[in-house]
Amino acid sequence: MFKVAYFPGCSLSSTAKEYDVATRLVCEDLEIELVEVPEWVCCGATTAHITSELTAAVLPARSLIWAEKHNMTITSPCSACFSRLKMAQLNLEKYPGLKKEAEEILGETYSGKGEVLHLTRVMLERYGVDNIKAKLKKQLKGLKIACYYGCLMTRPAEVCENDRVEDPMLMDNLVSALGAQAVKWSYKTECCGAAFSLTKTEIVRKLSGDILKEAKASGAELIMVACPLCHSNLDARQPEISKLLKAELNIPVLYFTQVIGLALGYGYLDLMLNKHFIDPAPLLKAKGIL
């Protein structure tokens, strides 16, 4: 049994509930045990990390210490949470003073040896695409998918340690394994405007619009993501972006665990596909997947 410490983060219990549900469902099938970090707290992705170095380190440190104590790799499905956990780990290693202070506040010691990975790497690299492939119930034949990685799971490159910074292939390999077709496009890691999601929506509309347009132009019928923030910009804002571009985009945006779920034979409601603003049902029905 493959066991990891699971840090869902706040989005996964609210706007991205479906990501959490699909992830747990899929992991159970794959026999990946997700051990939720008990009483996890905010990762600090909000304002903490730009206002206080200490808060930004202490918040994730709690979870890091728990995972380390229980000898588990810690993972988060949310790129922002992952980024905070990983950056906190690096900063605690880099600045002994900070580590001392954090340890005092938490009343525990931290060795910094535990591993922090994004959920994609846990599932697709450690568990392995081949192992997933072995458990599939059906092939997602004929589906053209654009994999969108976003920023926080790829950058900074030396922190995220992905295969290729500018052109990651991790999710693309998954798509091929699922029997679908990963389109070749060059906006995999472009900025969706996440940080301005609530404050300057016009920037978000422009940037996310570019991504959607490019995905469409490259022939994709569906966008696959691995981060709730990417998702909300590309999915929830799509109607207004369509209006702005004066073109009907209508391209569903699914979480990667939802897509795996489809290939494992789960249905529309199991994976909470009804929660998306752009309903994937018509497309999936047309392809004979639903």
Partner: protein, 662 residues
């Protein structure tokens, strides 16, 4: 018993103003072996030196100590003085009581005087153990080896041959010419590269003093300056000397699988080929990894069509071993492989090409006969973006150095593009323009002002493939704006890097290289073409990136160095070098491993009657006297003349003993 004279200099008041020089001289007189001790105002002056010469004669001295200034100042002077009086010049020691005493301890004259006495006593202790040494000589094989047949190697060979010495020019490829032959035009004059290079190639081939050895590689080197012994592999060409270079075999060869190295893989080439039409020598070779006959055992078309019967499938690699007095290394460079530039598509976008590929595209002898078309679909181009500093000035790619020529060749390429296709637009992304050189800045200005090449100061963040175009996104830091250019072709100004295998090659000669693999010159300012290995010189881009005029100048400089070496009857060698007492040598090879100059040779030798042992021997003409071997030898078998263990130990002992002056 030693007969030592001690001469204490006042240096005007420089020394005498602080140090009680008469007390120093008096103390000297009390030391064992010292026959005479005097002080004088200026020892280095003519009367001062005469005082020394007179004393040598009067007291029959055999060694001298001069207590004066730094030996770095006047050691040579007093060695000559000694020689004039008939004493071996290496029997002179100096005690530095000016720079190391008077000038730095002027705050306490008593302590200064005591220290001056001590330093003088240490010099006496050292000179007591000095041995007479004489200059040494070694023979020189007056024949040069030039490795690399690019413009650097050709120039060096021509210059050395011009002075009347024999040269062997070795080139790895089937033809000489090197990188320069691949270029279309040269900056800043825009004259045709081939037109100025070909006459030199022909001259090299026809010079009676130059022997060309193409399709050959150096595989082993031993020996040292004046006496290098080099093993060279002559790769099997499969074409013998009967070839007249008619080219029928190449025309008829059916194999088109291999890609032309000369055309930077933009076009196929035959299995039997000369790299380019003007090749020297104009003799083709068979690439056995591509030849149908060698792969399948059938074909032999070239043999059938050859009018002179020059094809020989049975040829084998051949090794020759020859002797040379000096070596010029001119092995050139490779261009930076941009496949680890993710932002430029990991080298996977066909229409993102290297600068050198552009040279081939725009060259009338190139695969497209000079038409600049896209490698992906052969369409003509409208918008071309040039990106400078690819693999140069980029810490993230571990290439922080400037490749020096890219600014210039980019300007040249943009101008050539506009010349050929006036309706095209060329954009250049740059960090800074580095155009130091005669007429260089003017050239870049012309590109901007007369040719309308648009220069944008900033880096390109990403190249996107969209429809049939390349979308180039970058920053223009001068206007502070993001720019997006829809391009048909992107040309990268790939920087220079050392030739693949440069480090391994350096090991053949024990040359050192920098962290990138460029060969180290002996001194960055004062010995720019010499290497730490005497008799081995470097020219061209194997030392660092440089343009053609600098390369040619450097090549001629190596030739001058080689000729200066060959002009000597014999090689004079400084005697302050290491020596091995083979009786005590344990043969552990520690000295052999640490010697920076490969001046140690390990030999099986009869050291005592009937006892053959593995022992070290110093190559006297190679040793530079650094003493690294002495510091490492635990058998205490190696010693350094002029700085022997005995001398140093006696200095240590004297330095730590109290002064016994009443």
């Amino acid at each position: 018993m030693a007969r030592i004279g001690v001469f204490v200099c006042h240096c005007g008041t420089n020394i005498a103003g602080v140090v009680d020089v008469t007390r120093v001289a008096k103390y000297a007189g009390s030391l064992p072996g010292v026959k005479v001790a005097v002080d004088y105002k200026f020892m280095c002056s003519d009367p001062g030196q005469n005082t020394i010469i007179d004393a040598i004669k009067k007291y029959g001295l055999d060694r001298l100590v001069v207590s004066a200034c730094s030996p770095r100042m006047h050691e040579a002077t007093f060695r000559r003085t000694a020689e004039r009086a008939g004493i071996n010049p290496y029997m002179v020691e100096m005690a530095n009581i000016r720079e190391h005493v008077a000038w730095v301890h002027s705050d306490d004259k008593e302590l200064a005087t005591q220290k001056a006495m001590k330093l003088m006593e240490m010099a006496v202790a050292k000179v007591r153990r000095s041995e007479a040494l004489s200059k040494m000589f070694a023979p020189i094989e007056k024949r040069a080896l030039v490795i690399g047949g690019g413009i650097a190697g050709i120039q060096a060979a021509l210059d050395i041959a011009g002075a009347g010495y024999k040269v062997l020019l070795v080139e790895k490829e089937p033809s000489i010419g090197g990188r320069m032959a691949q270029l279309d035009k040269t900056f800043p004059t825009l004259d045709c590269s081939a037109c100025i290079l070909t006459p030199k190639m022909v001259a090299a081939a026809q010079d009676p003093n130059i022997t060309l050895l193409t399709y050959a590689e150096v595989t082993e080197v031993c020996g040292f300056v004046g006496q290098f012994e080099v093993k060279i592999k002559k790769k099997a060409k499969s074409v013998n000397s009967k070839c007249i270079g008619c080219g029928v075999c190449t025309t008829k060869c059916p194999s088109k699988k291999a890609l032309s190295e000369f055309d930077e893989k933009l076009a196929p080439r035959k299995a039997i080929y000369t790299p380019f039409p003007q090749a020297v020598p104009n003799v083709p070779v068979i690439d056995r990894t591509a030849c149908t006959f060698f792969l399948t055992g059938k074909c032999k078309i070239c043999e059938k069509v050859c009018p002179t019967g020059a094809i020989d499938y049975t040829q084998q690699d051949e090794f020759i071993k020859e002797k040379f007095g000096a070596v010029v290394v001119a092995t050139g460079f490779d261009i930076y492989d941009h496949s680890n530039y993710g932002e430029y598509g990991y080298g996977e976008i066909k229409d993102v090409i290297t600068g050198l590929q552009f040279e081939r595209l725009i060259s009338s002898t190139g695969p497209t006969a000079g038409h600049v078309t896209r490698p992906s679909d052969h369409r003509e181009v409208k918008n071309v973006v040039f990106i400078q500093c690819v693999g140069s000035r980029d810490e993230a790619k571990k290439r922080p150095y400037c490749s020096r020529v890219c600014c210039m060749y980019t300007a040249k390429q943009a101008m050539l593009l506009k010349d050929h296709y006036p309706e095209t637009q060329a954009y250049v992304f740059y960090i800074d323009i580095r155009s130091a050189g005669k007429n260089y800045e003017e050239f870049v200005q012309r590109a901007q002002n007369e040719y309308g090449v648009l220069y944008l100061r900033g880096r390109v963040s990403k190249i996107y493939e969209r429809a049939n175009k390349l979308l180039v996104k970058g920053a223009d830091t001068l206007s502070g704006a993001q720019v997006e250019i829809e391009a048909d072709l992107v040309v990268l100004a790939n920087g220079f890097e050392p030739k693949k295998g440069a480090k391994e090659f350096a090991q053949l000669f024990h040359m050192s290289s920098d962290q990138y693999g460029f060969y180290n010159e002996l001194h960055p300012k004062l010995a720019p073409v010499e290497t730490a290995i005497s008799g081995v010189f470097v020219a061209g881009c194997c030392q660092s990136p440089k343009d053609i005029p600098d390369t040619v100048a450097m090549a001629s400089a190596t030739a001058a160095k080689v000729c200066a070496l060959f002009a000597k009857e014999k090689l004079e060698v400084e005697p302050l070098i290491a020596g091995v007492n083979q009786l005590t040598c344990s043969g552990c090879e520690t000295c052999y491993n640490v010697c920076p100059y490969s001046a140690i040779e390990m030999k099986d030798k009869e050291v005592k009657r009937g006892e053959v042992r593995h022992v070290a021997e110093v190559l006297e003409s190679v040793c530079k006297g650094c003493g690294a071997c002495v510091g490492a030898c635990y058998s205490k078998a190696v010693d350094l003349k002029g700085f022997t263990d005995r001398q140093v130990l006696d200095q240590v002992e004297t330095a730590t003993a109290p002064i016994t002056d009443n």
